[in-house]
């Protein structure tokens, strides 16, 4: 198909063709210490294995409807999680499993929501796209592209109103970044100096449309420029770069300087959803990202090189993570469906 050949395969190439980025210096990469590397490795691996399992359960018909996997983008949410403070909120779209795991939600409860069982985070009533946890400050799980951006701005508004020192992180895609309400939100956020980090997860495609076919300007970090919102592009496949940029952005917001935009250059390995044949990009493009830029593999290689972990240590972590995911899947398959009476609950208070 014509799209694939037109799209450049390397990560930030399409963006770096625009003039504004070419001028920018590559940000220094903050090194991680051993604990940070291990933490990042484990968290990212949990998301990866969880998503692989979700894909399997979908294939078995145990998960229905739409199911959007986060495989390939793990470093974005994990790096942000490592930078955030207690009480900071996250909100995102339908590609939300990774965010929930990073927000420390029980994998079993997430998986049981995917299978539509009563032990799911939304009692089985929300599904893959709609999960929430007030306790863990995760505000969903939204199916309408762009809606979470205004909502996330509202979370920032509430933080400022309460003077609680928290920052909200509103995640959205490159495709979503063309929705009108994004710019209405940007304007208010800067006008009122709201503590919101806008995290654009630029994985190059909105469904089957590559960013160059959907966006007049492709340096999304500059999308707030006309409102005076600072922004930067970040290597979203390198968890250290994500963490460093997030530290900076969160500090900016916490100091009362208003919103900040982080454009995470990332990539999804799987189709848009389970039913996407992904004919709009070449297999080579995907393969290249997997072999050259995989976020988990990068950490693994560094830890081995530095002697911070042996192959056996990492195997043990993988085994542990797999066991956790297997347990979640087990629960999600055996937990009963919600009681029929749940049909009429939670509509109004």
């Amino acid at each position: 198909m014509a799209t694939a050949s037109k799209t450049t395969s390397a990560r930030s190439k399409s963006a770096s063709r625009t003039r504004s980025t070419a001028k920018k210096a590559k940000p220094a990469i903050a090194e991680f210490d051993k604990d940070e590397e291990l933490h990042a490795y484990r968290e990212m691996l949990l998301i990866r294995r969880f998503e692989e399992k979700a894909g399997q359960l979908y294939g078995m018909g145990l998960i229905g409807g739409f199911c959007h996997l986060y495989i390939g983008q793990e470093a974005v949410v994990v790096g942000m999680q490592m930078a955030k403070k207690d009480g900071d909120q996250m909100i995102t779209g339908y590609r939300d499993h990774g965010h929930m795991l990073a927000m420390d939600l029980d994998p079993g409860a997430v998986m049981a929501e995917l299978t539509g069982r009563r032990g799911g985070l939304s009692k089985g009533k929300g599904g893959s796209m709609h999960m929430f946890s007030k306790e863990k400050h995760f505000y969903g799980g939204h199916g309408i592209v762009g809606a979470q951006v205004s909502l996330g701005t509202g979370l920032g508004f509430a933080n400022k109103y309460r003077e609680n020192g928290n920052v909200s992180m509103a995640f959205f895609g490159d495709g979503a970044s063309n929705q009108g309400q994004v710019y209405e939100s940007f304007n208010m956020a800067e006008l009122w100096k709201l503590p919101v980090v806008y995290v654009i997860e630029n994985n190059k495609y909105g469904m089957g449309t590559s960013i160059n076919r959907a966006s007049a300007t492709t340096d999304l970090s500059q999308r707030g420029a006309s409102f005076g919102i600072p922004g930067e592009q970040v290597d979203g496949m390198d968890v250290r770069a994500v963490k460093a940029a997030s530290d900076k952005a969160l500090a900016w917001c916490r100091e009362g300087k208003g919103p900040y935009i982080l454009e995470m250059i990332t990539y999804r390995y799987r189709g848009h959803s389970m039913s996407d044949p992904a004919k709009y990009r070449s297999k080579d493009e995907v393969q290249k990202m997997r072999t050259e830029h995989d976020p988990i593999e990068q950490v693994r290689v560094r830890m081995i090189e530095k002697g911070w972990a042996s192959e056996d240590d990492l195997k043990a972590i993988d085994k542990d993570v797999r066991a956790k995911v297997a347990e979640a899947a087990e629960f999600a398959q055996n937990d009963p469906e919600p009681d029929a009476s749940e049909l009429y609950t939670d509509i109004l208070l």
Binding site: G55, G61, G65, F66, G116, S128, M129, G175, Y280, L343
Partner: protein
């Protein structure tokens, strides 16, 4: 232990598919992530990736096999050190079935049948007698309608998300880009409010846009331009300019896609003067009415249904088959009760009518086809005969199309009614995701039968 490879589900609505091709042969080593086979669904060809490692021990379903059911065993994967002999020992344990919660039965078992009634399926008076028929899916009918109108009128163009290079998120615009080029088949960014306004503006200047919403749930982003601009401009301009535009796309519930992707908006649009609203059921409805909608000088909301896309129907094999907007079709003649439905609601109505016939109750089934303008005369003529009406739709009950029909029937045929008008609708709740709850939230054939029994006092 050998691992069974099962036919995977690859989309929300997939129940079976064709095993098009094996990319690995028996004896080949397989690692997780390898593409092992290609499967064709009604929408696309998809690759099947291995989730486990091993050797492909045996292929159970040869390539080229049609209609392979989801979860059917298609091959066996052998683990390290296992050989073919292990396969016989492989357990045939099926995938864990969802644990069932108690579900109250929605209808009593049908009563012992009285004398069965035979009902003639009514001919469509819009199709000339003797016209040859052919089989078409709703999906093909919609595509053909657009292609024919685009050939006829160079001012007709189609735009929306993924309509061109991706060939349509639901493959309705398949092939159109090839034939009409990117000038007339336009991929938009995800900006519903903006491209809807753009479309209305282009229509005000005289072009004939077809705006596809990936689903009507996303048209909510564009509601203002549809209502405030498209519907009202003709009136506000004293008749100088209107907006000849079609807004189309799937509407209502698909399968397990949850509260934000499952709403039926017929009543929302039908509320507004200045719009026409069509909700087709069959392929013939889809083709004849979409062509009419494209030719209509007004804004037309054309509400399709994802589940119906793959359904096949007989349609007339004519060069130019156009149906009148605002005219209902008597889909099946009957004498005891009138069932009024439209869109996917028809599937419940027709199944119920079949079962009712077996119970000695003759149901007349009216397919509204158009919601606004509403062909109440066809409904009233039927009510004068049967004295009883049940409406069927998947939308919420409050302020529904059913409510409007019930109102007009009592106003215009009060003296003919032998029972209150009953409606069978989706439940008054956001669409739940859980399989059991989703089933309960939607109407069902037993609910239609119960309603008919109530209005015919045969319960």
């Amino acid at each position: 232990m050998p691992i069974d490879i099962l036919m995977p589900a690859l989309s929300p609505t997939m129940e079976e598919g064709k095993l098009a091709k094996w990319l690995k042969a028996e004896g080949d080593a397989v690692t997780a992530g390898d593409v092992i086979a290609e499967i064709e669904t009604d929408k696309a060809t998809m690759e099947v990736e291995a989730v486990d490692e091993g050797t492909l021990g045996k292929i159970l379903v040869p390539e080229g096999t049609d209609n392979v059911k989801v979860n059917e065993k298609i091959a066996v994967l052998l683990g390290e050190g296992e050989d073919a002999s292990a396969m016989d020992a492989a357990s045939a344990a099926p995938a864990a079935a969802p644990a069932q919660a108690e579900v109250p039965s929605t209808a009593a078992a049908p009563a012992a049948p009285a004398a069965p009634v035979v009902s003639e399926p009514a001919e469509d008076p819009e199709i000339p007698a003797g016209t040859a028929m052919k089989t078409s899916t709703v999906r093909e009918a919609l595509r053909d309608a657009m292609a024919e109108e685009m050939r006829r009128d160079p001012d007709v163009f189609v735009m929306g998300e993924e309509v061109a290079e991706y060939q349509g998120a639901y493959k309705i615009t398949q092939g159109l880009l090839d034939e009409f080029s990117e000038k007339r088949v336009i991929d938009t960014p995800i900006t519903e409010h903006g491209f809807t306004g753009l479309g209305v503006g282009a229509a005000m200047s005289g072009l004939r846009p077809i705006v596809e919403f990936m689903t009507f749930n996303f048209a909510m982003q564009a509601m203002d331009q549809i209502i405030n601009s498209a519907a009202k401009t003709l009136y506000m301009s004293g008749g100088q300019m209107g907006a000849p535009i079609v807004f189309r796309g799937p509407n209502g519930a698909a399968a397990r896609v949850g509260a934000q992707h499952s709403q039926d908006y017929a009543a929302w649009y039908a509320h507004v003067p200045g719009l026409k609203v069509i909700q087709p059921y069959s392929a013939a409805d889809a083709k004849g009415l979409l062509k009419a909608a494209i030719r209509d000088p007004n804004p037309v909301i054309f509400l399709e249904n994802e589940i119906l896309y793959g359904h096949s129907f007989e349609i007339p094999d004519m060069d130019d088959f156009v149906l009148p907007i605002g005219k209902a079709k008597i889909e099946r003649g009957g004498t005891d009760v009138t069932l009024v439905s439209w869109g996917i609601g028809m599937t419940y109505a027709l199944k119920a009518a079949d079962e009712l016939a077996g119970m000695g109750i003759s149901a007349e089934v009216i397919n509204l086809r158009t919601i606004r303008p509403l062909d109440i005369d066809t409904v009233l003529a039927s009510v004068r005969k049967t004295g009883r009406v049940v409406t069927i739709e998947e939308a919420f009950p409050m302020c529904s199309v059913s409510s409007e029909i019930a109102y007009q029937v009592q106003e215009k045929a009060f003296d003919y009614l032998d029972a209150p008008v009953l409606r069978v609708t989706g439940k008054d709740v956001p669409m739940p995701y859980a399989a059991n709850l989703e089933k309960l939230a939607l109407p069902s054939v037993p609910e239609v039968i119960d309603a008919v029994k109530a209005v015919t006092y045969t319960a």
